[in-house]
């Protein structure tokens, strides 16, 4: 994987000036995710009404990859139902593991497709997937 593909403008923008970073006033679901081996540590905040994720944000610290991945994920799930969000998580993780055979599905990941080849950098996979695992936790706990 080329640095060109990794540290794109999109990813740098999301990692350094994310509009999704900060606290939400009315969060009713928060979930912390961390990656002990590299120290990435994020907290997702969600405002859920019924089945719908109305708003989302995150706080915490980590590398550009983990920060950008979190921010891009949040853009994607805002306004989605929990089920849809869960489906997005599955799709993202399959993509990373290169187990996604149905290429049409890639499209629904929108900007998150930027991490498509992170599997070629095994040391960074955990950075890219942290937010998504954390979201899955949050959704499962709040069924």
């Amino acid at each position: 994987m080329d640095l060109n593909q990794l540290y794109t403008e999109l990813i740098l923008e999301h990692s350094q000036n994310s509009e999704n970073k900060g606290h939400l006033d009315h969060a009713n679901c928060t979930e912390r995710g961390h990656n002990p081996s590299c120290g990435d540590d994020i907290t997702l905040e969600l405002v859920c009404r019924g089945d719908i994720i109305e708003d989302a944000s995150f706080t915490g610290s980590g590398c550009a990859i983990s920060q950008a991945s979190t921010s891009i994920m949040i853009d994607l799930i805002k306004g989605k139902s929990k089920e849809e969000a869960g489906e997005l998580v599955n799709t993202f993780l399959s993509m990373i593991k290169k187990e996604l055979n149905d290429y049409d599905k890639l499209e629904m990941l929108e900007d998150a497709v930027a991490f498509q080849n992170i599997g070629n950098m095994p040391a960074r996979v955990k950075c890219a997937t942290l937010a998504w695992h954390t979201l899955r936790e949050a959704i499962t706990k709040n069924q």
Partner: protein, 412 residues
């Protein structure tokens, strides 16, 4: 540097001449593990081709050879650290096992309720977690020595923390994060004056400087072969004979016994009592070859050369305005490990980016999470040198660091 021919030395290390993604490898992760010279790699091959056997158990030719090579390696280690007797040299698999052996066999036996164990905030996890266990099981207190603003340890802190209740002081001679070299001799002396035994974690010091256990008067010294040119899977525990004699066995099985009856066992003499199972003769032989290699060059020359590299690297790094060094900024009592932060750039991104330029450095907590918390840094970047590194490699490091900022979208 007349007598120190680094180009010549690099020829002994085939790994160093490889290309990584088309770029020459610049390996600056020596505090994690070092590469091996052909002399060590050949010693392994020769051992397996000519003398492999299970030692101590065979009267046949190869068994005798393997035993001899294993015991000669032990004696070489003894000489290297200037121990009195080779009974005091126990082979383990790494420094971590050596420290755990001490926790289980010394700590479990001699630490009592209300006692104290004193370590430094910069310890490696291997010198923290075993003591947490002993402290918890024995209802003892685990106390930390903290560092001053200069990332050094004041003796006042030592005087404050080590008390008459202190049973064990365990401290790394050199920090694997900060590069600080601690005043071990004074600490040992003060620890002894309070009745404590003192364990020295030499994992980072032994590869780079002459360590004399009799001179420093440490009760125990631990280190790993793989950080000093030797193969993986071999480590050392040095201990004063009379203290080793007072300890319970740790791992139990073949070779460490005298008589085994159905319900009872008597144990072998030192050093075998602490070496259960088939030993790693290959590792010991490789360690001996590594010591020969280091001796041939001379630890004093190695030390001097590494000091030059460190000075050069510190100067160059501090020349980058966005760099913050975690560790002493001058050469006094510091080794060739340098941790730093590049403002606005997370260490993992730094490491990914410089890797594409062939530069191997380490990012993260370096197995020293309590120190990271103390430093208020979730992670740092770390470079660590060995005597096969060069100034031009440091130049490459600096170049690649400047590129990191570009990649991450900062003006240069």
């Amino acid at each position: 540097m007349k007598s120190f021919d680094v180009d010549r030395i690099r020829e002994d290390f085939p790994t160093l001449s490889q290309l990584v993604r088309g770029k020459a490898l610049v390996y600056l992760d020596n505090a994690a593990t070092t590469h091996k010279p052909i002399q060590v790699i050949d010693s392994i091959r020769d051992y397996y081709n000519k003398s492999n056997a299970n030692p101590h158990r065979g009267a046949h030719h190869l068994g005798v050879l393997a035993t001899e090579m294993y015991e000669k390696a032990r004696d070489k280690v003894r000489e290297f650290i200037n121990a009195r007797s080779s009974k005091e040299v126990i082979f383990t698999k790494n420094a971590t096992e050596s420290l755990n052996l001490l926790a289980y066999s010394y700590g479990m036996k001699h630490v009592k309720k209300g006692d104290e164990i004193v370590i430094c905030i910069s310890e490696h996890h291997s010198n923290i977690v075993p003591w947490q266990k002993i402290a918890r099981l024995k209802d003892a207190e685990l106390k930390y020595l903290y560092l001053n603003d200069d990332y050094r340890l004041d003796m006042e802190e030592v005087y404050r923390k080590i008390t008459d209740r202190t049973k064990i002081v365990s401290i790394a001679q050199m920090s694997n994060v900060l590069g600080t070299v601690y005043p071990i001799k004074e600490i040992v002396k003060y620890g002894h004056s309070k009745g404590a035994i003192v364990i020295v974690d030499g994992a980072q010091s032994i590869p780079h400087m002459k360590v004399d256990v009799r001179d420093m008067d440490a009760d125990f010294l631990v280190f790993s072969g793989h950080k000093m040119l030797a193969p993986m899977g071999i480590g050392v525990l040095y201990g004063k004979e009379e203290i080793l004699e007072s300890m319970d066995p740790f791992l139990m099985g073949g070779d460490m016994i005298e008589y085994v009856e159905e319900q009872n066992t008597t144990f072998a003499e030192l050093p075998h009592r602490f070496e259960a199972g088939t030993p790693n003769v290959e590792g010991a032989v490789g360690l001996a070859a590594a010591i020969d290699y280091l001796n041939k060059i001379g630890l004093d020359k190695i030390n001097k050369y590494e000091e030059e590299l460190t000075a050069y690297a510190l100067e160059k790094l501090m020349g980058i305005p966005q760099v913050k060094i975690y560790g002493p900024k001058d050469l006094e009592d510091r080794g060739s490990v340098i941790s730093f932060e590049l403002e606005g750039c997370h260490p993992h991104d730094v490491s990914t980016i410089v890797d594409t330029y062939g530069v191997a450095l380490r990012a993260g907590h370096h197995c020293a999470q309590p120190l990271m918390k103390f430093l208020k840094a979730p992670a740092t970047s770390r470079v660590s040198f060995y005597f096969y590194n060069t100034k031009s490699e440091i130049d490459q490091l600096i170049d690649s660091l400047l590129k990191v900022r570009k990649w991450l979208g900062y003006g240069s």
